[in-house]
């Protein structure tokens, strides 16, 4: 080949073999072109393959990006993207909870929070800017809502910084409205505080009635600890005071109305029976299926004791604890009603003490009060449980004696009373004897009304006093005139 030939001057070469040399050079150059073309084709194939690979990666990246955008679009959490300074660049539709989407871009994110949280946002941006190690940050912010003046919402915020070569470029913000959650937590906290601290017993059962939880007041009232009660059916508290019918009615009301209220007797762990005011409520789901029953009860025993005490205070004589004149009137009315229905009879006895004034005069009121207490006790001891002994005046008593009508019986009872009172009283170490004058009126013979019966008994009592005391007299219609003519009280004549 010409290229292998030794070098020769350009002029000479051309002159000696002009055609052959030029053809050979062209041939060589063309082969060289073909070789390069082969190289280019190879490299082209490789580039095409690379292009296809890139294209595939690109397509899947585009796909992923579009999927991500669709996801963010459908996301119920608020998504915001800000620049490194916190200025909003884009947002998703859920952001409407803060402000209309068109108003958000360009807004500084700190301006969305309530005044008290703006400093937190500033510090967060500072941390992200200074390149904190954390890949994401979580915080809770109160956001002002600019949409329709809704109240501020409590948001749980995740911040994801986007860094390129360690430089903060943008920040993704995922903001979840946790207002309802916080409110529910608050409510649940309040509920459990109430559950734990109320003085009313509370038990919560499942829909089968098995106890799920009881509160401390439950344990205090019933004596059963939470461990003992949970898992049991509340039946274990039953005292037996209510019959099957009662419970059937209770359950019927609870099932139809969703609640029941009433008074019920239960038994404590120590066996004591107590009365409670119980409110049962069923908790139901949206479809009306019972999820659980809630029983709230208060122990009425103390209340009833207090009521009894109040009744006693209002209706008894403070000194002797005997029924007072008011209660006597009540009892007398009841007794008249009962006797009328049953066609029965009873006696009203008026008892007036003889020589009592002397005790007060000689020993003073304290001694007199002691003596009255003793006399009250003796009177009560002389009578049957069914009889009513009341103190109706300073030294005046009245006794209702059901079923006693014969003069013989009256004489026996009056004698017993007088005998008891004639026993000497020990007053400051000195003996003193009082006596009693007793008047008796009978229902219905001497009156059918409380006032006339009492009045007639007192007329008879004065008759006994006139007779010298320590005796009894039964009312006679004729006495009335004498009584009216001499209305002076027994004490004055004693």
């Amino acid at each position: 080949m010409s290229a292998d030939k030794p070098p020769s001057p350009a002029g000479g070469q051309t002159l000696r073999f002009p055609g052959a040399s030029r053809d050979a050079a062209l041939h060589d150059q063309l082969y060289r072109y073909a070789q390069d073309m082969q190289e280019l084709l190879d490299s082209n194939n490789e580039l095409e393959q690379r292009y296809r690979n890139l294209r595939e990666s690109y397509d899947s990246a585009v796909e992923a990006r579009s999927a991500l955008e669709r996801l963010l679009h459908a996301f119920r959490d608020i998504y915001l993207m800000t620049d490194r300074a916190g200025t909003i660049l884009q947002c998703n539709p859920a952001a409407v909870a803060i402000a209309p989407a068109s108003q958000l871009p360009g807004v500084y994110i700190g301006d969305l929070t309530t005044a008290s949280h703006q400093e937190s946002v500033r510090q967060l941006l500072e941390r992200l800017e200074s390149g904190g190690e954390a890949p994401a940050e979580e915080l809770e912010l109160n956001l002002k809502s600019q949409a329709g003046g809704n109240p501020a919402l409590i948001a749980s915020v995740s911040c994801i910084p986007v860094r390129v070569d360690g430089d903060l470029r943008a920040i993704h913000w995922i903001i979840r409205d946790i207002t309802h959650m916080r409110e529910a937590e608050f409510e649940s906290k309040i509920s459990s505080l109430v559950f734990g601290s109320t003085s009313e017993g509370v038990m919560i059962t499942d829909c089968e009635g098995g106890i799920l939880a009881v509160n401390p007041a439950f344990s205090k009232i019933t004596g059963y600890s939470s461990e003992e009660a949970v898992g049991k059916n509340p039946r274990f508290l039953q005292s037996g005071a209510q019959d099957r019918h009662f419970y059937e009615k209770m359950w019927h009301t609870l099932r139809t109305d969703g609640h029941w209220q009433g008074q019920i007797s239960n038994r404590k762990k120590n066996g004591e029976i107590y009365i409670e005011w119980l409110t049962l409520t069923s908790a139901q789901d949206d479809e009306g299926k019972v999820l659980s029953y809630i029983g709230v009860f208060s122990d009425l025993s103390r209340l009833m004791q207090a009521e009894k005490r109040l009744f006693h205070l209002a209706h008894s004589d403070a000194l002797t604890q005997l029924p007072n004149s008011e209660l006597l009137q009540d009892r007398l009315q009841q007794m008249i009603g009962l006797a009328k229905r049953r066609g029965e009879a009873f006696a009203v006895m008026a008892v007036d003490l003889d020589r009592f004034k002397q005790i007060n005069d000689a020993f003073g009121h304290v001694a007199g009060d002691q003596a009255l207490n003793e006399i009250a006790a003796r009177l009560t001891a002389s009578m049957r449980a069914a009889d009513t002994v009341a103190r109706i005046g300073g030294n005046a008593f009245a006794i209702l004696v059901p079923g006693m009508v014969s003069e013989h019986d009256i004489g026996l009872v009056a004698g017993k009373i007088i005998g008891a009172l004639l026993q000497p009283l020990d007053i400051d170490g000195r003996e003193h004897i009082v006596g009693a004058s007793i008047g008796v009126a009978l229902y219905p013979d001497h009156g059918e009304e409380a006032a006339s019966l009492l009045g007639h008994a007192q007329i008879a009592m004065r008759e006994a006093k006139r007779a010298g005391g320590n005796t009894h007299a039964i009312y006679r219609a004729a006495q009335e005139a004498a009584g009216d003519a001499a209305p002076a009280d027994g004490a004055a004549r004693a």
Binding site: S2, A3, D4, P7, P9, A10, G11, Q13, T14, L15, R22, A25, L26, D28, Q29, L30, Y31, R32, Y33, Q35, D36, E39, L40
Partner: protein, 120 residues
């Protein structure tokens, strides 16, 4: 488009080079040294592909000398082209101011890359 002058007495070789780079540059041609120098002075191309062995009064090296002797052409790039194995030509060309050197048959890829590199 930058101008490139191809200097070769072989018209087919010039044609090959024109096809190779014609899309990217404005191509001028000369078949001998004297013509080349005239075109260079007139058009001031950015680069010349200069064959050393040429008939006539000036060979490639002489054209190179003339280019380097002219201050108006100090920025002009020159690629020398010669037949295979002419080591002394290479040395002569490079020492007299050529910017690159190709051996025939040259690789068109190499040529294109060299031009690109020199005109960067």
């Amino acid at each position: 488009m930058k101008k490139i002058l191809i200097v070769d007495d072989h018209s087919d070789i010039r044609k090959l080079i024109r096809i190779t780079i014609g899309n990217s540059y404005e191509v001028l041609e000369a078949e001998d040294g004297m013509t080349a120098l005239q075109i260079i002075r007139h058009h001031q191309p950015a680069l010349a592909v200069l064959d050393i062995m040429m008939p006539g009064e000036m060979d490639g090296l002489q054209v190179l000398d003339a280019i380097r002797a002219d201050p108006a052409l100090k920025d002009m790039q020159v690629i020398m082209v010669t037949a295979r194995g002419q080591a002394k030509d290479y040395e002569a060309g490079m020492s007299r101011g050529a910017n690159a050197y190709l051996i025939k048959p040259f690789s068109p890829i190499h040529l294109v890359n060299s031009i690109k590199e020199l005109l960067k």
